[in-house]
Symmetry: C2
Subunit: 99 residues, 2 copies
């Protein structure tokens, strides 16, 4: 869990989805909102994208029904595989939750 | 590739993402738009969700830059595993492309 932005008043958090169980990230989102966050951005890339959607669905469906999806954005990141070789493209998703 | 809706004038198509290579679905999207579709809905669930985003990124980035993302929706489907047992939840995504 990372706090984003130079303005500490922004109360905007990002939860980066990795390979841990879904509930770990669900807990990170809930903790952020309970800590006063108005907005939590759930971000993932590659195979973790499906897990990001799982996290959002569990947060909204089971724990915080008042949380709304403010925005969903998709994109592409370029990842250098090895030095000198061509970069590989990986899809990304960002789901912005607001309370 | 399925044509949706009772109105054949709607020109609205759905591409359901499964386990085939990304380019198969990219081709399905391009064919729909070239066939006159104004709107193509890319749908996936579970692990295919990441592939759905790959498809949209390739269609827009490499082939049809004039195609816009009109809407991205996420949700949960309930899948019965076995008769009598509890249903399993699976996340879904729908990305609506418009030209």
């Amino acid at each position: 869990m990372w706090k984003l932005g130079v303005n500490p008043m922004s109360e905007s958090y990002a939860v980066l989805i990795g390979r841990k169980p879904v509930m770990n990230y669900v807990l990170a989102c809930i903790t952020s909102f309970h800590g006063g966050a108005k907005e939590v951005s759930v971000k993932a890339r590659g195979r973790a994208i499906a897990r990001a959607i799982d996290v959002v669905e569990v947060v909204r469906g089971r724990f915080l029904p008042d949380v709304k999806i403010a925005r969903i954005g998709i994109g592409t990141d370029q990842i250098p595989i090895r030095e000198g070789s061509q970069a590989s493209n990986v899809s990304t998703i960002e789901i912005v939750l607001q309370r």
